[in-house]
Structures are given as C-alpha cells and as structure tokens.
C-alpha cells in the first residue's frame, strides 16, 4: 500500500469487484475497457470475481482511495510489449473526480508512470480514450501526453458513432 499526500494506492483485491463492476456496467463507456473489436464488455459480478483471482491482473491494477478509504478509481498498466518497450495505461475515474479531486488522479498517474518508466524502463505508454471522455483528454494533455490520432467512427453506442483517441507519453530518460 502506498500512502501519498491525498490518496492511498494499493493492488486490486477480490473485494474490489464492486468498484470494477461500476466502471464496466455504468452509464459511461470507457475507451480503455473496450475489447479487441472495440466493443464494450459487460461482465457479470462472478466473471469479475474470477478475473480478480488472476495473478497478472492483481499485479497490474491498482485501486485508488481517498484518505477516508473511499474507492475513487483505478489505474493500471496492461499490454506490455517487452520487445518495443511500451504499455497501455488504464485510468478509470468518474468525470467529476477530475474536477473535484484532481490531486488524487495526479498522484495515481504519477504512481503508474513511475512504475512504467522507472521500474519497468518502458519507452512509452499509451492511453486510449473515447471522444466522450473529455475530462480524461484534458488531463492527459495537461500531463504532457501527445495526441497520436484517432480511429474514426469505431464504436457505435447510445445512438451515435464515437472516435477512439490514442495519447502517448515518452520516457524522457531513454
């Protein structure tokens, strides 16, 4: 468990299934939770419980709590390519959190970037977000992520087409 100034960050556990369920099955669709076909996935509680028993998942995802132990969101690192040294950063927070608790989100991203760049020595990290995730886009931009482009009309949901953006940040030490 890592205690920061505004947040507490710890590896995801079996008991965090509710937190993960909320992101998968909520009203909002997150670009980083789409599958390979860019379709949203709606897992059941038991499927997520099973997922959280997977060692790789547990070691890649972190729950972010505020100082009152409220679960605020999740961060993670997936799809690590050892040959080219890149990975995908997962940043899951409700839109409102980016406004009300930005220092918590910043600490979470600091933590995951530190893991990617300093401990795993990755060359770059990518972040995927839908065009509807405006708060995340603004946040990534403020954190020196570079817009690398967007897949146009790749997801159809809630009666309209959505674009999927790719943002990247490079390791300045490599």
């Amino acid at each position: 468990m890592i205690v920061k100034e505004y947040s507490v960050i710890r590896t995801v556990e079996y008991k965090d299934v509710d937190c993960l369920y909320k992101f998968y099955n909520g009203d909002k669709v997150y670009g980083s939770l789409l599958d390979q076909k860019r379709e949203p996935v709606y897992p059941t509680l038991s499927e997520l419980e099973e997922l959280l028993q997977n060692k790789d998942v547990v070691n890649s995802f972190y729950v972010v709590e505020d100082k009152d132990s409220n679960k605020i969101g999740l961060v993670g690192l997936k799809g690590i390519n050892q040959e080219v040294l890149f990975g995908e950063v997962i940043i899951l927070f409700d839109d409102g959190i980016f406004k009300s608790s930005l220092p918590i989100v910043s600490e979470a991203l600091d933590f995951i970037e530190e893991k990617a760049f300093r401990r795993m020595h990755l060359k770059k990290v990518l972040s995927l977000c839908l065009d509807s995730e405006t708060s995340l886009m603004e946040f990534l931009s403020s954190r020196s992520y570079k817009f690398e482009g967007e897949l146009r009309e790749v997801l159809y949901t809630k009666g309209k087409w959505h674009n999927l953006q790719t943002w990247a940040k490079y390791n300045d030490r490599i």
Partner: protein, 205 residues
Amino acid sequence: MQKAKNTYLRRADREDLDKLVCWMEDEDFNYFLYGDPARSPSIIREQIVSYLGKSAGSVLPTGLYLLIDGPEGPIGMVSLQNISWRNRSCNIDVYISKPYRGQVTTGIGVFRALEYAFDELNMHRVGAVIYAFNELSWKFFEFVGAVREVVLKDHILRDGKFYDVFVYGLLDREFNDWRDKHKKSIQEFELRRMIESINRSESNL
C-alpha cells in the same frame, strides 16, 4: 489487364492449408505483418486450421480468410479480422506472394475484398495497421480513400531498428465516393462483374 480479369476472390478452404502455411513461413510475412518469426510451423498450421474451421459455417464469424486466386493458382491472401457486427467494423490484412507484389492484379484483388466487406458484409469501417516501411501497402490504401488516422511513433522493431506504425481507416461513405469518382476505370473489375463472369463460365461447363 486480361490477367487481372481472370483473377477472382474466394474463401480459403482446407485444401489451401499447405499454401497458407507456406506463405506464413515466408520471412516477408512476419516482416510486413504481425507474425512472430519464432513460431513453429506446426503451431501456424493449427492456427490456420482453427481459423478455417471457425469461419466456414459461422453465421457471425469474427474473422474471414479470402484468397486471390487465378489461372496460375492463389497469388495472395486477404483476411478480415476482428469483425465487429455491432460496430460494423473490421481490420484488413493483406499478404501477396512475392512475384505478384505491386501488380495491378493484386490491387484489384484487394479492391474486391473491400467491396466484399462494404457491400456484402455491410461494414461501416475497414481499418488497416501498416508499418511505415511498407510503402506499397499504405499508398494503396490512401489511393482507395483511406485516411491515416493514427501514427504510433517507433512502435515496431525490425532488424534492430524502430519504425512507426500507421493506422488507417476507410469508411463506407469514403469508399463509395472513391468508387463514384473512378467509376469508369474500375467497373470491369467490380466484385459483381467477377461473380457474373464465374457464373457464366460455370453455366458453360
């Protein structure tokens, strides 16, 4: 041009297995596409068999293998991968055997595969992931109206060097506009004409 007219597109069958394995073992296949050079031929074979088995009878397959065939035998393969029936989208991968690369025949085969994706499978979007050094491929996709949507810097390693990866997207309306614009020059190669010609030669047998 006559040669181009004689080629046709068909679904890959179990009888094509040896040809497909042979292509997948070609070092260019791994160089230009997503393959891992360390894969063993038996694993490649197993993988293809499972793909062929899956796509054959499935109502909603997630992948399709098509062959560009001709009088001299198959000249290349087009695969439609990650087919999403919800989003009406898929990714296209193309492999052309060495002697036929850069030929009009090949372009026509890929054009017909795109027609198949848009006109028969009702796709809204066809995407392609192409390495920057594969200029022939990305120029072809730009030629048919695809847009370079994402540039992933230094995203692939080949012979010890990093290269960019381009992600292209072609929407149904863009492909239709392109077809309208080039109507006169492409009509004799259309998928529809190809099917008519096959039907004619079958009825003459």
